[in-house]
């Protein structure tokens, strides 16, 4: 087990190192800098700005400085928002993004698993078809179409919830969370249904029933445990989906989270901020993949040995 953990952590560190290098050089090579505006800047001022942000040093020295900073959790200054460091901006946005992401995962898991079980137990009945329709809609209709539609229906027409922003406490978070959980409800319910049907055919489930264990207990203790393995395996990639989603959701609902910061930074070519958020997302994704692997290894001994 320890070797398994060590291997995963080592791979994660390698990925993160590659991500740091790649983002750094991609950002240096990308055309147009944060200071190339239409307005002419006098050469002296440009020199001064470059010196402030250490852009006058050789590239490898800048890279070294950046990596050195990262090791001290210093992401550098933002080139667009004077007086703010990238760390400050991330810290201001992270609570919103984490709240939305966390609840979206919780709701998606609960509703998705419930729908999947219902579909598997009542195959080819209206319940199953309903779950199937929800699944297909969640997968095929992008959240940047559902989001605005929900805004029109629940905010503009019915006036139940605010259109967006963050000034109304939990009320402003309801729509973003619900919309973000929809595609994941779809994936999780499909996955649960499929693996439930497969697991119900397994020999050990039949054995449990033959031993006289009641249907409810067989379902909860035996079938569900086996059936949820692929679902747990999906939670790692789901984090990636939540990251993607949070970018869209925060744009659609004008939430000042890090996804919104990321898009603004990309459009404004605020490279340090883009890099900082990329690394944060990358780190989160790697962390969740490792956690997922660990939980799977813990639940299913077969996973540990497959390398």
């Amino acid at each position: 087990m320890l070797r398994f953990v060590g291997k995963r952590v080592w791979e994660g560190a390698l990925t993160l190192a590659a991500l740091v290098t790649l983002t750094f050089f991609v950002m240096r090579l990308a055309p147009g800098g944060p200071f190339s505006r239409n307005r002419k800047i006098s050469p002296e001022i440009l020199e001064h700005i470059k010196a402030t942000f250490h852009l006058d040093e050789p590239v490898w020295q800048q890279f070294g400085r950046y990596v050195w900073g990262l090791m001290h959790f210093d992401f550098g200054p933002s080139t667009r928002f004077r007086d703010y460091s990238v760390g400050d901006l991330i810290a201001s946005g992270l609570p919103y993004s984490l709240t939305i992401g966390f609840w979206a995962v919780v709701i998606a898991s609960m509703v998705g698993i419930a729908l999947g079980i219902a579909g598997a137990l009542r195959r080819n009945t209206p319940t199953d078809y309903l779950a199937g329709v929800v699944g297909v809609i969640g997968i095929a209709v992008p959240i940047f179409v559902i989001g605005p539609l929900f805004q029109v229906i629940f905010a503009l027409k019915l006036n139940w919830l605010p259109v967006g922003g963050s000034d109304q406490g939990w009320r402003s978070l309801v729509l973003p969370i619900v919309v973000l959980s929809l595609p994941n409800i779809a994936y999780i319910s499909r996955l649960t249904r499929g693996s439930m049907i497969e697991t119900m055919r397994e020999n050990y489930v039949r054995t449990a029933r033959a031993k006289g264990i009641g249907p409810r207990r067989t379902l909860i203790v035996h079938t569900l445990k086996g059936a949820l393995l692929p679902v747990i395996a999906y939670l790692g990639p789901a984090t990636a989906g939540i990251i993607t989603g949070s970018i869209l959701i925060e744009t659609v609902f004008a939430v000042p989270g890090i996804g919104r910061h990321f898009v603004d930074a990309a459009l404004n070519r605020d490279y340090p901020l883009v890099m900082g958020i990329t690394l944060l997302y990358g780190g989160l994704l790697i962390l969740f993949n490792i956690l997922t692997d660990l939980v799977r290894g813990w639940l299913d001994p077969r996973v540990r040995s497959d390398g």
Binding site: A30, A140, V263
Partner: protein, 289 residues
């Protein structure tokens, strides 16, 4: 002499095709998708104006099938229907071309890695694993910034991030194929590694590739519209479903039409592609039910 009719036997591929044809939902999806594709590619020619021509007599015109602008115009007086069709042309082209290119790269990479085995395989797969650990959308955004924006940049960025899945799948397939007798025989018969990969490994992976490749198409289309929606992909005045939806969201408080037409069409295409992918999987992958 009596002519003996050859026994009517069907190849595996014909059987798979027949199985796919009997899937009504998938066939309906093919028809709808074909219709939308035709409309997007040829529809705009039937209008006397293009999606970038502004008609100043009709600014923000509502839906009116009697006028020249069936679904009205946007706030520049540009015809909505034509813009949506032209946007579809871009989205569908990038979708299919992107999936094909990503699939092609992935198949070759995976086939070579799987056939070569050993150290080369480990190195190649380690690279894939590292790239897999990246947050996909972030990577697409970074790359499209690197390539300077525009259609080609968008295309390159999407392909660059999407070839990984086919590579992994084909590699697994190639690995098991490489140990089979007919590959052994080919090697003994003096075929070079290159010939074996191209003539034995790749063709035998095709059905897996078709199944997973069909899932790539909606993913590419979604990525494209996603980026255009954020303002990073295809930019005005060129239309794409993503940036049309973006424009629609800005005006949704007063006029839902601008959001609904491109949104519905995008959702419809994604529905069809998903059903087709499901149908292909059921037909080509007997292990899966």
């Amino acid at each position: 002499m009596v002519e003996i009719a050859p026994p009517k036997s069907l190849s595996t591929f014909q059987l798979q095709l027949r199985r796919f044809r009997s899937n009504r939902l998938a066939m309906l999806s093919v028809a709808v998708l074909a219709l939308i594709t035709l409309a997007c590619f040829f529809g705009p020619f039937f209008f006397p104006f293009t999606g970038e021509d502004a008609d100043f007599d009709y600014i923000n015109a509502p839906i009116d099938f009697g006028s020249a602008h069936w679904f009205g115009t946007d706030d520049f007086g540009r015809d909505l229907l034509v813009r949506v069709l032209e946007g579809g042309r871009v989205s569908l082209t990038i979708g299919f071309l992107g999936a094909a290119t990503a699939g092609f790269i992935g198949v070759l990479y995976g086939a070579v890695a799987g056939y070569a085995g050993g150290r080369a395989d480990r190195m190649m797969m380690r690279a894939v694993e590292v790239l897999y650990g990246f947050p996909y959308v972030i990577l697409v955004i970074l790359l499209s910034l690197l390539f300077g924006g525009g259609n080609v940049a968008l295309f390159a960025a999407i392909v660059f991030t999407l070839w990984l899945t086919p590579a992994v799948i084909v590699r697994a397939q190639a690995q098991s194929l490489a140990r089979r007798e007919f590959v052994e025989a080919a090697r003994a018969g003096g075929m070079t590694a290159r010939q074996i990969v191209l003539e034995h490994i790749v063709p035998n992976c095709i059905s897996v590739v078709i199944v997973y490749g069909s899932l790539l198409v909606p993913e590419v289309i979604l990525s494209e519209s996603f980026l255009s929606f954020l303002g990073i992909g295809i930019k005005e005045p060129q239309a794409s479903w993503g940036n049309l939806i973006q424009t629609g969201t800005a005006a949704m408080g007063t006029d839902l039409r601008l959001l609904l037409l491109p949104g519905t069409l995008l959702a419809l295409v994604l529905f069809c592609l998903n059903f087709i992918a499901d149908g292909l999987r059921d037909a080509f992958d007997p292990n899966d039910r």
